[in-house]
């Protein structure tokens, strides 16, 4: 057993500039905007979604990418105005939905990583995002520590 704090650094491409740090919320399911989230609370509502009932408000959202209706950007736009947007977005698959959604969310966003963030980051990890420099620093949550 080791109490050493694991740090992992990922490098990627800036989608939206800025820097921040916070707790990660990770899902392997793509996220649907319109009909998939409640933008006023940032809660995922999609029926069969891994994060159903959980909110990304103030979290570093780590996910494969966007899916579903073209209302995606508008829903995240509303989430920002309602104060329920994610702190940052880290994702793998570039689409127009997510590009526009990230742009109007005004939160730091990155993609095209040298390592798959879904493999490296787990929910509860502490994540520093510096989108302008293209660097993500992950501090792994200690084993046994409550999330």
């Amino acid at each position: 057993m080791s109490a050493i704090i694991d740090k992992v650094v990922l490098r990627g491409r800036k989608v939206v500039g800025g820097s921040c740090e916070g707790e990660a919320l990770v899902t392997r399911d793509r996220v649907s905007g319109w009909g998939g989230i409640d933008p006023r609370t940032g809660t995922i509502i999609e029926t069969r979604h891994q994060l159903r009932g959980q909110s990304f408000k103030g979290k570093v959202l780590v996910f494969p990418g966007a899916k579903g209706s073209s209302g995606w950007s508008n829903q995240f736009h509303i989430a920002r105005l309602a104060g329920a947007a994610p702190l940052a977005m880290l994702f793998n698959e570039m689409t127009t939905k997510i590009a526009l959604g990230a742009v109007v969310t005004h939160a730091p966003a990155m993609t095209d990583f040298d390592r798959d963030p879904l493999e490296v980051i787990e929910t509860g990890d502490w994540v520093k995002v510096d989108a302008d420099r293209g660097v993500v620093e992950v501090t792994k949550k200690l084993r046994g520590e409550s999330a």
Partner: protein, 427 residues
């Protein structure tokens, strides 16, 4: 991203603050995508209304609809005066049917706001088609035409069935495109991104509109946002079938383009559908897969007693209204059930002329326009269980409204509306 001299001047403010804000957004968006340039578009399909509760607050601000457009269509915190649109722009479905506002639970104040917004939009030169199916009421792009459309079910139809070129745009990018006539040249605008990625061997007959929905839902679930090439289709479909197929595939996954070998314009042969690429995977669609799609979409359904039947997602065609009218003629809805059918306003006008509206209303149903249950977040009072003939609606509405939803054929849905009980099942 490289801008030409004209675009650079627009960004520098030579054509006024709204164009400047629009170019600023297109630049940020294009760079987020990794696009190298913009492309001219004369065909935009988007939304600029403000009838949802959240947006109404903006419409009531001093800037009125300019404030709504600035924030929600240009991502501009500063309110700018919006000029007339440059591109042919068609409006998507909105938040209500003003003729059925009371039934949809909408107050007269909001109806007034809706009408004011519509008049403002029309003044800009935006076509008030108010439908998710612009391609059935006068916006039918030709093969190769660069478009900037939103609405996932319209995008997939535009790319796949018409061979026109659009990405899934959003409210902000279509707003910017309307007034600038520009959109990032990326994704489906480029030849190399339009080839198939997955081969789907269709091993069973797919013929009815319900069958096409099940196929679309299954394929979308598997390929997500890639490009399926469907081989082995034995019955040439029609508009309602492909409308349903595309809506289903773009709901369960994020499919924006598909090819039907020998049918759709960019897939005269299997080889042409894949172009220089090889399929990354091959999947089969048979009885088991069809059943799987049916079970997935009916995940929320348990109780058979229903209170609501919703038809017209995406908006019904006149052929579908005709079919519904035939099924309803001389019958009466169960007293506990409401039937709302959604269609474009001009299609309802045709239904009026053909006498279908009267048949449907005599049976106790309604034809509504300009919106749908999901957009208006409107369902009949007391609805606990609903039935739909749309995989898309069965996918979304239960989660949005906290109800159970059955997917069935149009005939099963009409039967449920008349009997009060959903007796459908996988045939």
């Amino acid at each position: 991203m490289k801008l030409n001299d004209v675009e650079r001047a627009m960004l520098d403010g030579a054509e006024g603050p709204a164009i400047q804000r629009a170019m600023d957004l297109l630049l940020r968006y294009g760079e987020a995508l990794g696009a190298e340039r913009l492309v001219d578009t004369k065909n935009v399909c988007g939304t600029i209304g403000a009838t949802t509760p959240f947006m109404r607050q903006y419409a009531e601000k001093p800037g009125g609809m300019d404030a709504v457009f600035s924030e929600f269509n240009l991502d501009s915190p500063t309110v700018v005066h919006v000029p007339k649109v440059r591109a042919f722009a068609t409006h998507l479905q909105q938040g209500m049917d003003p003729d059925y506002a009371e039934l949809q639970g909408i107050t007269p104040e909001v109806v007034t706001l809706f009408k004011k917004g519509n008049a403002w939009s029309a003044g800009l030169g935006v076509q008030l088609m108010n439908t998710c199916t612009p391609y059935q009421v006068g916006n039918v792009p030709v093969k190769g035409e660069h478009c900037a459309w939103m609405e996932s079910s319209a995008v997939i139809y535009c790319n796949s069935v018409l061979g026109a070129r659009t990405n899934t745009e959003g409210r902000e990018s279509t707003g910017a495109a309307m007034i600038t006539g520009k959109i990032p040249y990326w994704g489906y605008h480029c030849d190399e991104n339009r080839y198939g990625t997955h081969l789907v061997e269709v091993e069973i007959d797919v013929e009815t509109t319900a069958d096409w929905g099940l196929l679309g839902y299954y394929v979308g679930e598997i390929v997500q946002d890639r490009i399926p090439v469907l081989n082995g289709i034995r019955h040439v479909p029609n508009l309602p079938r492909l409308k349903h197929f595309g809506a289903a595939a773009s709901s369960s996954g994020g499919v924006e383009m598909y090819h039907l070998v020998g049918i759709t314009p960019e897939a005269p042969t299997l080889e042409r559908a894949f172009g220089p690429k090889k399929p990354v995977a091959t999947l089969r669609y048979g009885k088991a897969e069809r059943r799987k799609a049916y079970e997935l979409v009916n995940a929320t359904a348990k109780d058979r007693e229903i209170q609501y039947v919703m038809l017209g997602c995406p908006h019904y065609t006149i052929e579908q209204i005709w079919e519904a009218a035939k099924l309803l003629e001389g019958k009466h809805l169960h007293p506990d059930v409401s039937l709302w059918i959604f269609a474009p306003r001009v299609i309802k006008s045709l239904a009026d002329q053909n006498g279908y509206t009267k048949i449907i209303e005599d049976a106790g149903g309604e034809i509504m326009t300009d919106t749908c249950s999901a957009m208006a977040k409107a369902i009949p009072k007391g609805t606990k269980v609903a039935a739909f003939d749309s995989m898309k609606q069965a996918h979304y509405l239960p989660a949005m409204m906290g109800i159970q939803g059955w997917f069935g054929t149009t005939a099963e849905c009409i039967d449920a509306a008349v009997s009060g009980r959903f007796n459908g099942g996988l045939q």
